[in-house]
Every structure is written in structure tokens, then in C-alpha cells.
């Protein structure tokens, strides 16, 4: 069981900030494939990966990052701090 978090327009498009997901996905990319297959709103949110960033256990990483032992995955657009 893993917490999946969404921020900014990803959160708005999917319609929730956080959910618990039971998954066997080995990588972030495989998790995205599972999410896309769920419902249209997920497919929409994940339609263009170049517009998305991912953090695994609160560290920025790539879409091919492994998920073994991971507690938290977050998806969001490029950051706009400062």
C-alpha cells in the first residue's frame, strides 16, 4: 500500500489530493500505466509526461525510478517557487 499525492493542476484534474493505492508496479512508469487505465481523468492528467514531475518518498526522481519499499509517490507540474 502506497500513498499517491497530486499537486496543482494534477490534483485538480484527478479531483483529489491524495489516495492509497495497492499496486505491484515495479517502477513509477508502470504505476502511471495502471493509473491511466483506471479512468479518463487519470488518462488526461498523465497524457503528457513532459509536463509532469515525480517525487518518490519526497525526493525528485525520474519516471523509471523503482517503487520497491516506497511509501509515498507524488505527481505535480514543474515547480514555480521563488
Amino acid at each position: 500500500m502506497m500513498d499517491v499525492l497530486y499537486f496543482a493542476w494534477v490534483r485538480e484534474r484527478i479531483g483529489l489530493p491524495k489516495e492509497k493505492i495497492e499496486t505491484q508496479a515495479a517502477t513509477v512508469a508502470a504505476l502511471i500505466d495502471e493509473l491511466r487505465a483506471r479512468e479518463e481523468r487519470y488518462a488526461m492528467a498523465f497524457s503528457d509526461l513532459s509536463a509532469l514531475r515525480v517525487a518518490v518518498d519526497q525526493e525528485l526522481t525520474d519516471f523509471d525510478a523503482p517503487l520497491a519499499g516506497v511509501r509515498e509517490v507524488a505527481f505535480f507540474p514543474p515547480m514555480t517557487g521563488g
Binding site: F7, A55, Q58, E59, L60, P77, T80, G81, G82
Partner: protein, 152 residues
């Protein structure tokens, strides 16, 4: 709030007192000859901005900021580093964030402050949403902000 040796990171919703923070920061050490401060302000470019809302990722935000500040301390000879960043609702003219760096000489203090700002813009999990008469929109990240990291 995270405090390490010479490093203070604050993430908060409420406004901060830039003058008081700068004063306190500058008074901390007598062996630092240079203090650089930067503050970012909500900007109303078109004259129609009603407000801004900043979303962040609690937990990761503090970690990411502390990591960026620690990286600055590792690269330059620095005394203290201070980063304050707000989230939530604000209006034009309000201060969003500040950084302050102290170093024996000004070059290190200036460079480290620029490094902090460059990284903070695209590596700390904040997202700005602007509210204007026509509606609301997420501020898009700029290619030049990503490109700015290349020089470090």
C-alpha cells in the same frame, strides 16, 4: 522550521517581517563581512491581478529547501544561510519569500544567494496560481528558469 549549523529554513503561511529578519540575520556574526538579502514580491504585471495562491508539498518542501541551502554552504565559504518561503493566499505587493546569505566577502554571498534563488525556483515544490478578473490559472514554469541551473 529546520535549524542546522548556520542554516535556517522556514516555511509558513503568515507574512514575515523582512526588515526584522534582515536585521537579525546581519547581527548574528561579527566575522562575516558581507550579507546579501533577496526578497521576492507578488507582482501585478497587467494591473488585473486579484491575488495569488501558493500550494506546496508539506514535508518535501522543508527537505528540498534544506538540501539546496546545504548545497550552497558546501560550494561557497558561507556563514549563515536563511530561507523563508510562504504558501497560501497573498495579494500584489506582498512578500512571498526571502533568502539571506552571510560570507566573509561579498562575492560568495552574492553568488550563493543567486544559486539559492535559481534552485528554489525550479527544485522546491511550490506552485503559484494567479487569480485575475478572467479567472484563475497556474503559473507556467519558464524554460529560462530550468536553463538557469546549467551555469552552476
Amino acid at each position: 522550521m529546520a535549524e542546522d549549523a548556520g542554516l535556517r529554513v522556514v516555511v509558513q503561511e503568515e507574512p514575515f517581517d523582512f526588515g526584522a529578519e534582515a536585521e537579525r540575520f546581519a547581527a548574528e556574526r561579527s566575522d562575516m563581512g558581507a550579507v546579501v538579502t533577496f526578497t521576492g514580491v507578488v507582482r501585478d504585471v497587467t494591473g488585473g491581478l486579484e491575488g495569488m495562491e501558493i500550494e506546496h508539498y508539506p514535508g518535501m518542501t522543508e527537505k528540498a529547501l534544506a538540501k539546496i541551502a546545504a548545497e550552497a554552504q558546501a560550494r561557497w565559504s558561507l556563514g549563515e544561510v536563511l530561507v523563508i518561503h510562504r504558501y497560501g493566499k497573498m495579494t500584489a505587493g506582498e512578500r512571498i519569500m526571502m533568502v539571506a546569505t552571510a560570507a566573509p566577502h561579498r562575492k560568495n554571498a552574492f553568488e550563493a544567494a543567486e544559486f539559492l534563488m535559481d534552485y528554489l525556483k525550479s527544485r522546491a515544490p511550490f506552485w503559484k496560481k494567479e487569480r485575475a478578473e478572467g479567472g484563475q490559472s497556474w503559473v507556467a514554469a519558464k524554460d529560462e528558469d530550468e536553463a538557469a541551473l546549467d551555469r552552476w
